[in-house]
């Protein structure tokens, strides 16, 4: 009471603690420097790396919904596919010359269409238990899958969408045979969307998602519009998955029913759980490990790579909660305790 104008030491500390959480950490900066360095480190693996960036974006999308808001979903693969076909069709009918073929506009088309469908279906996941949500999101994914296969005249059916011809990125960089432009483009898009997601989860909005995950009864009691928040995050996540799909269609110049297949959703969730949900980086790490394992194990034992992936996953879930990042967190905490004791 003695001094109203200057904050107390506790208040200063609290401000520092809260704001400190949104500061970029050293590990984060190293992560992104390494991601950029991959361009020179693995010049022959650039299309694999683009694919990892795209998978990471889908896993990031699942993280927003599942890791932060606690809503289980098997629908992200559908939004990915919708984004891929929307952007693919736009590029196809733009014939590589008109504005429709512009990749960046294509991202907004893919993300936008996915977001609209995400928004429309978000109302289905507001109610019910985890199990009903799984069923509903899976149902939506299966419907999309079926629609893509049936609308042969538009999507090419099981043959896939041929002749996707995106023009040069920003009118400057043509997609090349070595996947250089594709990698840089994918990484830049991933980074931009990551930065936005990062701001989002560290904002009051992001905090409210974690609160919803923690205790819905209390969030309602403090006057939070829970449904509006869930609709918002589900729509944003659909946009992210849609952009990832658009990226995939543009960089591979193709879209096929495999892009909307159910396993996409399951894979994305697997990657996230693998890396650690609710950390933003979990999905990115998960996609790196998942896709690298697939590549390496696939070369050694083409038939059994999924078996080894499964073994690793079961071990991870059994022995460490919270995936790879959870493991790192625990190790860091143990190390700090040891350091504090000495």
């Amino acid at each position: 009471m003695s001094n109203i104008t200057s904050p107390s030491p506790e208040a200063m500390r609290a401000r520092a603690v809260l704001l400190g959480r949104s500061r970029w950490g050293v590990a984060e900066i190293i992560f992104w420097i390494l991601a950029v360095a991959c361009y020179w480190l693995f010049p022959t693996k650039l299309s694999l790396l683009s694919e990892i960036a795209i998978l990471g974006l889908v896993a990031l999308s699942v993280d927003l919904v599942l890791g932060y808001a606690g809503i289980v979903t098997l629908g992200q693969g559908a939004f990915f596919g919708i984004g891929a076909y929307a952007a693919g069709l736009a590029a196809k009918f733009g014939m590589g010359t008109s504005l429709w073929s512009d990749p960046v506009i294509g991202l907004f088309i893919g993300g936008g269409v996915a977001a609209v469908i995400g928004f429309a279906t978000s109302f289905l996941v507001l109610r019910g238990s985890d199990m009903t949500r799984l069923m509903v999101t899976l149902g939506v994914a299966l419907i999309v899958d079926e629609v893509v296969n049936q609308m042969k005249w538009l999507t090419g059916g099981s043959d896939g969408l041929q002749g996707v011809l995106p023009s040069a990125v920003l009118g400057i960089w043509e997609f090349d045979l070595f996947g250089r432009v594709a990698f840089v483009y994918s990484l830049v898009v991933l980074f931009v969307l990551f930065v936005i997601a990062r701001a989002l989860v560290k904002s009051p909005f992001g905090l409210s998602l974690q609160a919803i995950k923690g205790n819905m009864l209390r969030t309602r009691a403090i006057g939070m519009p829970v449904n509006a928040r869930l609709v918002a995050v589900y729509t944003v996540a659909a946009f992210y998955a849609g952009v990832a799909g658009a990226l995939a269609a543009q960089t591979t110049q193709f879209a096929s029913p495999d892009y909307v297949a159910f396993h996409r959703s399951a894979d994305a969730m697997l990657m996230l759980v693998f890396g650690g949900a609710g950390h933003l980086y979990g999905g990115l790490l998960g996609s790196i490990i998942f896709r690298t394992m697939q590549d390496v194990l696939g070369n050694i034992t083409p038939q059994y790579w999924q078996f080894w992936l499964g073994v690793t996953l079961v071990a991870l879930v059994l022995f460490v909660r919270g995936g790879i990042l959870g493991l790192l967190d625990n190790m860091l905490a143990a190390w700090r305790r040891k350091g504090g004791a000495s």
Binding site: P7, A11, L18, A199, K213, L217, R220
Partner: protein, 253 residues
């Protein structure tokens, strides 16, 4: 002039299948009230609070909050209209810290809960308010700890802090000291006693010493119905109340 009625129920009924948990309760709470709601286990006290706060919808009857008919309002809307409550069983965010919990509540109160471009903590006025609240409840020391790891008594205090952060006109406290060790109960009840004068309070509590220390008026709920209402003296000397509590606890001032 009679005091303004902030919260009112008219002929409120709630049935769960065959059980009538709230039985035609007509009740009013004036500005600045210090009202205790007592009654044996299973009398329907929590159900009544759940109806008032919008967690449950009544089978029949009406609820008024500061003059507005809120019977069909959501819990969220009632919260924004000035109603706050605590829960008999902690309903907190285990993965957040107390300071984050309060930041969230304050942001929601001020309509800033959906702001997404600025980090939590950018509104320094909110931070200062949250810090002051923790100090008011004597839990500044655990401001940055994970709520799920706090001692039970600290969590009970945080329950109250969250409700206070809503700056309510009406505050419903459902056994705030339940399950708390003896020496910490005093602290919680001191906090309750020191709540802002203009807030209308309902306290549910089984410990009669605390009830009689706090309350200016008391209602006794039995089998879902209002059994008697009166001043602490009237209730303490009412033979029927003694009878209800017989075998449970002696009623004395």
């Amino acid at each position: 002039m009679s005091p303004r009625i902030l919260l009112e129920s008219r002929d409120l009924v709630k049935r769960f299948g065959g059980i009538t948990a709230t039985d035609h309760v007509t009740f009013s709470l004036p500005e600045g009230a210090r009202h205790a709601l007592i009654g044996p286990n299973g009398a329907g006290k929590t159900t009544f609070i759940n109806l008032l706060s919008g967690v449950l919808t009544p089978t029949s009857g009406e609820i008024f909050l500061d003059g507005a008919n809120v019977t069909h309002w959501s819990a969220r809307k009632r919260a924004h209209a000035g109603l706050a409550r605590t829960f008999q069983i902690n309903q907190l965010f285990a993965d957040l810290t107390p300071i984050e919990t309060l930041m969230l509540t304050i942001a929601e109160r001020e309509g800033e809960g959906s702001s997404w471009w600025r980090p939590v903590g950018a509104r320094t006025d909110f931070v200062d308010e949250a810090v002051a609240l923790l100090a008011q409840l004597g839990i500044s020391d655990i401001a940055h700890a994970r709520v799920g790891q706090l001692a039970y008594g600290k969590q009970r205090l945080l329950e109250i802090a969250v409700a206070l952060a809503q700056k309510p006109k009406v505050l419903l406290l459902d056994e705030p000291a339940a399950g708390v060790p003896e020496h910490e109960r005093e602290q919680i009840l001191d906090v309750v006693a020191a709540l802002p004068k203009d807030v209308a309070l309902i306290l549910i509590e089984h410990d009669m010493h605390l009830v009689f220390r706090f309350a200016k008026s008391i209602s006794v709920l039995v089998n879902g119905g209002l059994f008697v209402e009166g001043t602490p003296d009237e209730i303490a000397n009412d033979p029927r109340v003694r009878q209800v509590y017989l075998g449970e606890e002696e009623v004395h001032v």
